[in-house]
Point group: C2
Chain length 120, copies 2
């Protein structure tokens, strides 16, 4: 039964730059958890799945990574038993010039500086 799967299970499919769809990207970015992932990635070159400052179950996180990967926003590679994730900045830039930077800047500028819980 064992198929000679060298990789893990499925083979980490990423869309070609030319196949990245704008609406898919916008949709991927419209979720808070995924936006956090992307923002985090924008600040660091690469990061393991479990190290993101999000508060969801591992399975949920895995789901979000899949959405981001299939939208073309991130690239993931396997290293040991870890999955390293990186933003496809260059690809995004090639496909949709300035888009990512503009969206990220918009998010940062619009975010309230910091409002503690219970903020009256």
């Amino acid at each position: 039964m064992p198929r000679s799967t060298s990789r893990r299970r499925t083979a980490l499919t990423h869309p070609e730059v030319e196949d990245i769809d704008l609406l898919d990207v916008l949709h991927a970015l419209s979720d808070p958890t995924r936006m956090t992932i992307v923002r985090t990635l924008a600040a660091e070159p690469e990061r393991a799945c479990g190290t993101f400052p999000v508060d969801v179950a591992p399975s949920t996180l895995s789901h979000h990574f899949k959405v981001l990967r299939e939208s073309g926003l991130i690239r993931q590679r396997e290293e040991a038993n870890r999955r390293l994730t990186a933003l496809r900045s260059a690809d995004l830039e090639a496909r949709f010039p300035a888009l990512l930077a503009t969206v990220l800047a918009a998010y940062e500028s619009a975010a309230e500086p910091v409002e503690g819980p219970g903020g009256a």
Copy 2:
């Protein structure tokens, strides 16, 4: 239950510029029909609801306008028995500089030049 609604039924609520949420905007833009509406609006200053080049039922269209309006992307005003819709370009620009233009440019550059119905 006679409500003294002067306007039509509900009073066309639009979020304040400061209340426009980036994720809401991105989500609103991630639907093909709504993107078409926004693109159309980007080319014309104002337009009646029924005159958009989209192919959905009136009720569906109405729903999309509501989503766009509540996200802050469009503004609607009543004129006679028509509802005129306009892009909130200036407001968007103030809230999220360059965002709208970048997204629109991304769409146009990525879209196939023009494919008539029945493509080929």
